[in-house]
Amino acid sequence: MTLTRQGAAVRSPAHLRWLQDAGQLLVVDEKARRAHVLRGHEAALWTWFTLGYSYDKALHLLAAALKCPPAQAEAALRELLHSWQTLGLLEEARDGESGD
């Protein structure tokens, strides 16, 4: 599993809005006019990142939540970040760009 560029920073585009609902997190892509529902550890990770947690801290929490070894959690995390990129919930962060 690889991201667009190995080790490249990714970020949430500025046209995303999100809210926490009972049992799920709703992310709306204002540009594509699409809603994405995140549940379980996906929703938790989104929340942690919006709180400014680092990759390593989120990984540590994810391993604890999934009750699995760090390597397994990291594979899951990278896969999730990749799927978020595919869905447009993340984009590659390029230096000097504002985010949208």
Binding site: A14, D21, Q24, L26, V28, A35, A75, L81
Partner: protein
């Protein structure tokens, strides 16, 4: 249903005003303050091709349009019923024009707690007296309305006004919603259960006086206890739980979902458009947000899932959304992965 903005002017200063942002946007776009007779004629064409039998006139304060009487006469001449949303402190010429219309062709929704002086009781009392005179002259054409924007509201004076003026025996209740991008005074959904109980208690008193209550958009059933809902059913209150594009059509042809959503969903009135196509365009724009409601539990609510409840006012729901950009920097893949 579609509302036609005919005036961008209002002399009052209601703390909960939904149109404030909207009127500011009109000013910023340098839109004329009043609709011209020619454009109004085009709006009537729009209603006609949309199969809408009623011309609903809004503002600002619609009765402040210098040619209000002519516009109303034109709508009536073309076979439309006229509904006017007014603060009730209208110029004499406008009042006379409405007073002269047949009962079945005219309804004036009079906002009973509109005010120019939110902090001055004596002046508000004078406004109330003048508004009561408007109700008396309009008689059955007048439908009193009240916007709840603070939990300590008092609806009792409305019963006295209704009983002494001969207006419709009904009160249209609205709950003040937050303008998406504005700063008006509104009822927070956390306060809904408190105001709901007061409404239910008042509904009983109103029913005893022969007055029914009906709800404007944005109410939700879960704000009422089961006992209060039973009361509303017993007194035959017209309780609805909807929020859908009304269509507020601006002087310059811009169409918004409704005033509280100014700055979000909008489209433009083209010469061949009808209400259904405009409504569909606005619904499509707001569809992703409709998955949510004003409460977190709306996501798991069976009434919302079934469409029986819209989940409250969309403008209020939009305020729940956050925009929190974040960045994640994963390290280069470790060899163990």
């Amino acid at each position: 249903m579609a509302n036609l903005v005919i005036s961008g002017v209002c002399a009052l200063r209601c703390p909960y005003c939904f149109a404030e942002e909207h009127l500011a946007a009109l000013k910023a776009r340098a839109v004329p303050l009043f609709i011209s007779p020619e454009i109004f004629e085009q709006r009537l064409d729009f209603l006609q091709r949309s199969g809408i039998p009623e011309a609903r006139l809004i503002g600002g304060e619609p009765t402040l349009h210098p040619q209000f009487a002519q516009l109303v006469a034109r709508a009536v001449a073309r076979g439309f019923k006229v509904m006017v949303f007014s603060h009730g402190l209208m110029p004499e010429r406008a009042l006379a024009a409405l007073e002269a219309l047949p009962l079945q062709q005219c309804t004036v929704l009079v906002n009973m707690n509109a005010t120019r002086y939110p902090a001055d009781t004596a002046r508000r009392d004078k406004e109330h007296a003048r508004r009561a005179e408007t109700l008396r002259r309009l008689g059955g054409r007048a439908l009193p309305g009240f916007t709840i924007y603070t939990p300590d509201f008092d609806l009792d004076p409305l019963l006295a006004a209704i009983n002494s003026t001969g207006c419709q025996q009904m009160i249209r209740l609205g709950v003040a919603q937050a303008i998406f991008a504005g700063h008006n005074q509104y009822i927070h959904p956390k306060q809904y259960p408190y105001i709901a109980h007061k409404i239910a208690r008042f509904a009983v008193k109103a029913a005893q006086a022969g007055v029914t209550i009906s709800f404007d958009c944005g109410f939700v059933p879960c704000m009422f206890s089961d006992a209060d809902l039973a009361v509303l059913r017993r007194v035959k209150a017209d309780a609805q739980w909807h929020c859908s594009p009304i269509l507020d059509i601006d002087i310059d042809g811009r169409v918004v979902h409704c005033f509280p959503l100014t700055g979000t969903a909008q489209t433009t009135l083209e010469s061949t458009a009808d209400a259904a196509s405009l409504r569909a365009a606005l619904a499509e724009q707001s569809a992703p947000y409709r998955m949510a409601g004003i409460y977190r539990d709306c996501a798991t609510c069976a009434l919302k899932a079934s469409g029986a409840c819209a989940g409250g006012c969309l403008a209020m729901t939009l305020r729940r959304f956050q925009q929190t950009p974040f960045q994640v920097t994963p390290p280069a893949e470790r060899s163990t992965v």
